[in-house]
Amino acid sequence: MSDAARNVAVWLLEPGADADPAILHRDVAITRGELRRRVDALAAALRASGVARGDRVGVLSENVPFAVVSYLAAIRSGACVVPLATDLDERGFRDAASTTGLRRLLVQEKYASRALGWARAEGVALWPERELEGAPAAEGRIPEARIHGILAALDEEPLDPRTALAAIMFTSGSTGRPKGVMVSHRNIEANTRDIADYLALGPRDRVLAVLPLYYCFGASLLHTHLRCGGSIALASSFMFPEKVLDELELRGCTGLAGVPSTYQILLRSTRFARRRFPALRWLQQAGGKLPDAFVRELRAAHPGVALYCMYGQTEATARLSYLPPERLDDKPGSIGRGLSGTRLEVLAEGGRPVAPEEETGEIVASGDNVCLGYWNDPEETARFFRDGKLHTGDLARVDRDGFIYIVDRARSFLKPMGNRVSAREIEEALAELPDVIEAAVVGVPDEVWGEAVHAFVVSRPGSVLDPEQARDHCARRLANYKVPQRVSIVDALPRGGSGKVARERLRERALDERTEGAPGRAQGVEQPGRPH
């Protein structure tokens, strides 16, 4: 196998001595050597069972070692891995399985009984964790002597890393039905190099992976830390965040990665700001903009730790840009510039670059991390992937130094009284209230306003924040047409698997609340929720 044509799983697993740690989960530590052996064994077993190059192999698992082994083994076998969200219901699972033509599903024991019936109905062969673990040659029961032969034969087959699919990653579906993004071997390699480079990752780095591996940001943590020779501590859930912090401390992690809500919850509902983490070197944040108020709090709480605010999309493997931590003061709120291998442009209609500091345009990306399109969806592919460039649908401005500032998702704009208003601007204003953990704003059709602004606010434990106070604050901070007509205090925001807010569900809820109340006039009506 020539260097240029190698399987990206081999490339990811290459660094590190056999005895070096690779994966940690609770009391389990898996070395580099053991990880390589287990991935090879399962890859050979998949191959021996008839999985051919390009076949889709699903993985349904939380962040446990099984998920890592299965993900890498599916890619190593020449198949295309399809990581599935663990919170899929039957319909979601069957949609994903039928659109991708899934042939096998590697499933964590916990989900095996739930997935059994669903998989049968879709004609997918189920490989439960229990049948793979503990077998004589570990994963897959292939005698060790045969594993080498099977993999050597596999490596003889030509592989074009630019076109061969390594994974189909589903978008988080925060604005609609999830789409399967086709990720090539080259995409993963290119993005991994760039990310590991700007974070200056090395063998001593250890990330706490609380983001699920089926989300592109979670997968990027695995890729980068394998390739830099570092290690990954897996946290299977964020349900008990103080326990996650215990792991961060106990495992001596050098880094933590999260979406905005990760940090908002850590800052407002745990002792994160007061606890010390001597090994912690950096924090990565992506998956939407962290409101400026939280950026300030985070830096004040851990002044010696570098905060990387970053921007990406599943359609670009994971990452598109980052703001160097030393620019947080002079470029606050910026997503920075493109990665070294990614060209980012902000284009006005007609495709010309916007005038700096004057116009707003769409972010368009090109580079080896731009994926191949959406699986089985030529229409959506043609909409977002044109001439080898990714049209992100994110609207932005650019300053004279080339730093990019996202204004909002094109489809997250509201139009109260005909004014174009960014949901994010209102959410940021709400986040300034010290009792607010997070806020999400949606628009609902309204006979008076055209589109009425409805804010959902999660307040911190023990707070007595009421909807009227939240509206008063917005009224002081924002133009009158941006002040929410209605504020609901809720226990939690609905989320997709990636942790992003499921805005469609909030819109439905906002509509329900309006039908229950007086349309167009109800102001500051509190949704019955948990009294704090």
């Binding site: 739930r114 299977s236 859930s237 008990f240 965040p241 434990p461 023990g462």
Partner: protein, 80 residues
């Protein structure tokens, strides 16, 4: 009925578990796929209704196993 049996009943109701499905002190979210973050809030509501209590947010964040739930119930005066 013991407190554990009552808790087990709340689990079965909340997560629509089969009648024979084992719920004991060792049960954690690792064993029950439906026990995710939204499931947790439903579980807490079920427990509050069953025991006539209101839990504080700090307590809710600690309910990481059936054993922990029983511990909290005991602290709140439930006979376990």
């Amino acid at each position: 009925m013991t407190a554990l049996e009552r808790v087990a009943q709340v689990f079965r109701r909340t997560f629509s578990l089969a009648a024979g499905r084992k719920v004991d002190a060792e049960t954690t979210p690792d064993h029950v796929p439906e026990w995710d973050s939204i499931g947790h809030m439903n579980l807490v509501s079920g427990l509050e209704k069953e025991f006539g209590l209101r839990f504080e947010v700090d307590e809710i964040m600690e309910m990481s196993s059936v054993a922990k739930i029983l511990e909290l119930l005991a602290k709140r005066g439930v006979n376990v």
